[in-house]
Amino acid sequence: MDNFADSTADFSAPTMVEGIAQVVKIDGRTAWLVPEQGSSCGSCASASACGSKGIGTTASRLDNRRFRIDNDVNLAVGERVVFGIRDHVLLKASITAYVIPLATLLLAGVLAQWQFGSDLVTLGAMIAGLVIGLGISRMEAGRLHNKGDLVPQFLRRARPGETCSS
C-alpha cells in the first residue's frame, strides 16, 4: 500500500499560474518584460516551425508577447522576475477570443439554414456572424482590459537559476 498517495493529498490547483520574464526596458514607473520559455521548448522537434520560439532568429515572436507591469519595486533592465496570472484568467481570455465568435457564427448559420435552406446563404451568414462575433470579442477584451483582469502581476524577483519548472 506504500505506493498509493495519501488520501488527504491536496489536489486543488494553484490560484496563480506563474511564469518567469526578463525586464527589457524601464519607462518611468513602467517595466517592460519579455516572458522566458521553458527549457524543453527549444529542444522540441517542432522548434524550427514553432511560433513561440521564432524561425531560428533572435527577433522572435517572444518580442510580440512583451508586456508591462507597474515598476513599484525598482526593477532594472536585465533582471528576471516571477509574474503571475490568476488561474481563471486564461479561461476568461479563451472564452472572449474563441467562444464568442464561434457562438455568433453558429447562431447565424443555424438561423440562415432554418430560414432559407441554402448552403450559399448559410455560408454568407456564417461569415457575417464570425465578423460580428469578433467585434463583440474586441469590445469584451477592452472591458476586461479596463478592469485589469488580464494584466499579469509581479510576484517576486526570480532566484538565480530559477526556471518555470523549478
Partner: protein, 193 residues
C-alpha cells in the same frame, strides 16, 4: 434538429477524434501537463477546426469539385489550415494584444495538429452540407477539448502520486489514456430511437 444533435454527440463522444480516431495525439501528450494549458489549447483548436471546416467546405465545393481538382485536396487543405491559424493569430492580436500574450503560444502548434486536417478531409469524404460540416467540426473539437481537459486533470493528480519508478512519466500517462479510450468505447454501444 434531432439529426444535428446526434451528429454533434456522435462526433464528440462515439467517434472521439483522439480516443476513437487516434488523431491529435501529440497535443494530447504535450499540453496536458497543466489544466489551464489544456483549456487554452482545446478552445484554440475548437476555433481553428471550425473555421477550417468552413473554409475547406467552401474551397472544395466552389473550386476543387467544379474544376475537377480533387487530387489537390490534401495540399489545399494544409494551406487552408495554415492560413486559418495565421488569420486567427492576427485576429486575436488585433482584438487584444493582452489576449495574444496569454493565448498566442497555443496557436502555432495547431498548424501541425493532424486532427484538424483529418476532420476537414472526413467532412469532404462524407459530402455533408455546410451546416452539418460546421456542426460536425464543432462536435469533434468539443470531444477533443473534453479529452484534453479530462486527461490534464488526471495527469495533475498523477504528478503527486507515488508511481513505481518503471512507470513514472509518459508510461503511466499512456496507460491512463488507454483506460480512458476503453471508457469512451462504451459510448459506441449507445443507440438513438
Amino acid at each position: 434538429m434531432k439529426e444535428y444533435i446526434l451528429l454533434m454527440f456522435s462526433a464528440a463522444l462515439v467517434n472521439n477524434v483522439i480516443l476513437g480516431r487516434f488523431l491529435g495525439l501529440c497535443p494530447t501528450m504535450g499540453v496536458t501537463t497543466r489544466l489551464d494549458a489544456a483549456v487554452g489549447m482545446g478552445m484554440a483548436t475548437t476555433f481553428v477546426m471550425t473555421v477550417s471546416a468552413l473554409a475547406g467546405w467552401t474551397v472544395n465545393t466552389l473550386l476543387l469539385v467544379p474544376f475537377d481538382l480533387g487530387y489537390l485536396r490534401t495540399i489545399t487543405f494544409i494551406l487552408i489550415i495554415a492560413s486559418t491559424v495565421q488569420f486567427t493569430e492576427m485576429v486575436v492580436k488585433k482584438v487584444s494584444p493582452l489576449l495574444f500574450q496569454l493565448l498566442g503560444i497555443y496557436l502555432p502548434l495547431i498548424t501541425t495538429n493532424c486532427a484538424v486536417l483529418g476532420i476537414a478531409l472526413l467532412l469532404v469524404d462524407a459530402r455533408m452540407s455546410i451546416i452539418s460540416s460546421v456542426l460536425f467540426a464543432i462536435g469533434s473539437a468539443m470531444g477533443f477539448s473534453l479529452v484534453l481537459v479530462i486527461f490534464a486533470g488526471l495527469r495533475e493528480r498523477l504528478a503527486v502520486m507515488d508511481v513505481p519508478r518503471l512507470f513514472a512519466g509518459p508510461p503511466i500517462a499512456f496507460i491512463v489514456v488507454s483506460l480512458l479510450a476503453l471508457a469512451f468505447m462504451g459510448f459506441s454501444g449507445m443507440g438513438a430511437s
